[in-house]
């Protein structure tokens, strides 16, 4: 009750111009700011330009919409690569070679590779017994 009476007294004093330096002066300032004239068209245009510039630069913040979308595409690409690898096979396994382990010449060896210069797959087999020039090839 005492507070209410103090407040009423202060208001009455303000109306009569007695309490110029009290807390109500701040309230008056706020009111003055609120009643200030609206920003001009030029100021609104600047504000709109600043907003557009801000929206046009997507930020890669963890958890943001763009970040989550990129992560989703990355996961899809990874999945597609795994499926492609399983379907088409690994390129390194495209050409393999093995010498027959029961061959009577133990010195026989074979190397397989792809020659990009020759644009050919090559199986280089070495360690054969040489054939004489007059050995027939039928």
């Amino acid at each position: 009750m005492t507070n209410f009476e103090d407040f009423t007294r202060e208001l009455e004093g303000e109306d009569e111009g007695k309490t110029s330096g009290s807390g109500l002066a701040g309230l008056r300032d706020l009111l003055r700011k609120g009643l200030s004239p609206e920003p001009s068209g030029q100021e609104q245009a600047w504000a709109w330009t600043r907003l557009q510039a801000r929206l046009a630069t997507p930020e890669l913040i963890p958890g943001s919409f763009l970040w989550m979308r990129l992560a989703g595409w990355g996961a899809m690409a990874g999945l597609a690569l795994v499926v492609g690898w399983a379907t088409l096979g690994h390129p390194k396994d495209r050409l393999t070679v093995q010498v027959d382990p029961f061959h009577e010449e133990p010195s026989l060896y074979a190397v397989a590779f792809h020659s990009s210069e020759a644009h050919a797959d090559v199986v280089w087999v070495g360690g054969y017994s040489d054939m004489q020039a007059n050995d027939p090839i039928r």
Partner: protein, 169 residues
Amino acid sequence: MPMSSGWAGIRICRQTIPSGEAVVRFFPLLLCVFLGAGVVTSARGADAANLVHAQLFLAQNSDIRNDVPKGAPLRKSLDPVIGYNFYQQLGDAWAKVDADDPKWLLPCKTFYFQIHPLENGAYRVSLWQEKQLIVNCSLTPQRGVPLIITGPRHGEGLLVLVLTWPDAI
């Protein structure tokens, strides 16, 4: 500013950066198209690569009959690997290899091949010298990519076996 104006702003942003946004937006679609094309190509390769051509050459530097002239596609493959001046063809053979049906391919009676079709368009190629198996290799053939297998030295030259898949993709 009302909520609808904010969404309009995001739409404006999308339209202002079309290239990067379009790539991100259509990347999964492009990926699926390429992957699908790869699978189809692989399946076609398995069907179409079954015609096989085997050739046996004697490569020498002395002036013998030359069956692979310079400039021929096969010569461009042989020169960097084998490096002789003349290639005399001693024999060749053709075969059509069907699924589950291994074929013998005899460019001559001394050296010959056995071709086994495998899965996904691959083949297992076995090279025999008379009655003895020399090597087993497995490969997935490609169009215009011959398989060159070196044989033993013969006199001053080198025997070379070549397998090609003319119908490979």
